[in-house]
């Protein structure tokens, strides 16, 4: 069964959606979408690193993304620049450095499109293992840190005052983000991974009135995007990663009709 490229793609997609669902909710709640984007951009550097040193791609992407996240935290403390400017600086410079390094490695043939947009149809059994094992670890850690992380998301000072150690758990969450980017970069590519995190969660927000519900809807949204997107890409011969994201967008638009109203209309 695993011989079929389509089944492999489905398995990887399902594994991804199960993890991006809950993580994406936190990305939306904590307003970290641009941060996720920055980590994803820096992943290109990690990919080139893996080509030159022949270490595992997921591992090198994870290391580079984590380093970029740490640099960001340092810069935020040292400079007077706002977070979005620093994120832009890091995102584009790490992307540029990655491309420069690719240029220097002219002897190796690079599938740049594949890196930017991923190729879920080209995954092998190894990739499935990486996504499912890596994903299981991410979900387990997230489950353990859920309470303090959620508390610090609602209110940092309250969490800190009542002994929930928000700084520590925020750092762990950042590492989880780097990890999900690392394991899914090959499937949806560095330009689309943030879409996979944010779009199902954004759709879920429209349909939910409590956090657990939003996580569940976010997972369902991700799964539907993977199923419908992959089948569509097979039927109408469109690129698979972008088809998944586009499906997510369509689900989001549909969810707008069922939107749970903002506070002033909430009764």
């Amino acid at each position: 069964m695993l011989d079929d490229f389509f089944v492999r793609a489905l398995l990887v997609g399902i594994g991804m959606a199960l993890v991006t669902g809950p993580l994406g909710c936190f990305v939306v709640w904590r307003r970290l979408s641009f941060f996720g984007d920055t980590l994803a951009h820096s992943a290109l550097l990690g990919v080139t690193l893996s080509y030159t040193t022949e270490i595992n791609m997921a591992l090198s992407v994870f290391v580079i993304s984590s380093i970029v996240a740490l640099i960001l935290l340092k810069l935020q403390k040292k400079t007077n620049l706002p977070a979005d400017a620093l994120l832009g600086l890091l995102a584009h410079s790490s992307l540029a450095i990655g491309l420069v390094v690719i240029g220097l490695l002219a002897t190796i043939r690079f599938d740049l499109m594949g890196l930017l947009f991923g190729d879920i149809l080209a995954v092998n059994v190894n990739d499935i293992a990486v996504v499912w094992i890596g994903g299981a670890i991410i979900l387990m850690v997230l489950k353990i840190i859920w309470k303090p992380l959620f508390a610090s998301t609602v209110n940092y000072e309250l969490a800190e005052a009542e002994g929930m150690k928000p700084e520590k758990y925020n750092a762990i969450f950042t590492i989880l983000l780097a990890a999900i980017i690392a394991i899914s970069i090959k499937m949806v590519g560095l330009l689309l991974i943030t879409g996979m995190l944010i779009i199902p969660a954004a759709m879920a927000r429209n349909l939910s009135d409590n956090p657990n519900q939003m996580v569940i809807f976010s997972i369902i949204g991700g799964l539907l995007s993977v199923f419908i997107g992959l089948f569509a890409s097979l039927e109408i011969n469109t690129p698979s990663g972008p088809s998944i994201i586009t499906t997510g967008l369509i689900l989001f638009i549909l969810s707008l009709t069922k939107i749970k109203k903002k506070s002033q209309l909430n009764n």
Binding site: A151, T153, V154, N155, A159, E162, P211, K262
Partner: protein, 250 residues
């Protein structure tokens, strides 16, 4: 988990420097089990800062803070809930603890808000939110309770009821309470110790001591300072938390 003297937190000459400006400096105070300390002072005098020092929210402080408890509940002055986060009162009650359903309901009842349990947090009015914040803090059964202007936005009758509630919490839980008063001149009668701040400790002592203190009178003007009215509880009726009045049984 207190030390021998029932001390929960001890501040010695504490101060915070932010952007070359001292938010507050030279604060010494001690919060003990079963005692209520009230902080008063004008805007920007460092009341909230002192509360945050007590809670350990500042990383770099001057002086010393010693904490002898981990069971802390905090009612902040203001709290912004992002609308991207769907959260009901019920979820909020359990934010930093694992409470049973009954514990949540009891706590909400004590602050007169059981009907808000399944409401979205963002749909509450200022006063309702304040009561939910109180309920959450009480439900935790803390050893140290820090209340930063807990009655702001609550109507007058509710205010009296909340003060009575604070007294009751102090009696039943026997916890130490650090209370920041939103009103310079109103200090609840059960207060054991008043600290008047103005960037530093202007004066401190029992409510009567502070009211008669020259520095206090200097700071706020002799005439105004006279109305430091110590709120007394000697009613023949009870102000219920929802504003209604009930005759006392005995």
């Amino acid at each position: 988990m207190t030390n021998k003297n029932n001390t929960l937190v001890k501040l010695e000459n504490a101060g915070v420097l932010v952007n070359d400006k001292w938010l507050v400096r030279g604060v010494s105070l001690e919060i003990k089990k079963g005692k209520i300390i009230t902080l008063i002072g004008p805007n920007g005098s460092g009341k909230s800062t002192t509360a945050k020092i007590t809670l350990g929210l500042y990383k770099n402080i001057e002086g010393k803070v010693e904490k002898f408890t981990n069971k802390i509940a905090y009612v902040p002055q203001k709290i912004n809930i992002d609308w991207t986060l769907p959260i009901r009162v019920n979820d909020f009650m359990n934010l930093t603890s694992n409470l049973k359903k009954e514990e949540i309901e009891t706590a909400l009842e004590t602050t007169g808000t059981p009907h808000l349990k399944n409401k979205d947090l963002k749909s509450l009015s200022g006063g309702e939110f304040q009561r939910v914040l109180m309920a959450r803090a009480i439900a935790k059964k803390p050893e140290l309770l820090v209340l930063d202007e807990p009655v702001q936005g609550v109507d007058f009758n509710g205010e009296i009821a909340l003060y009575e509630l604070i007294k009751k919490i102090s009696d039943t839980l026997n916890c130490g309470i650090l209370l920041i008063s939103h009103n310079l001149h109103v200090v609840m009668s059960k207060t054991d110790h008043v600290v008047c701040l103005n960037g530093h400790v202007c004066c401190s002592g029992t409510p009567i001591d502070v009211a008669n203190n020259e520095k206090y009178q200097e700071l706020f003007g002799k005439d105004i300072s006279k109305i430091l009215s110590v709120y007394e509880h000697s009613h023949d009726h009870i102000h219920k938390i929802d504003g209604t009045i009930e005759k006392k049984e005995n």
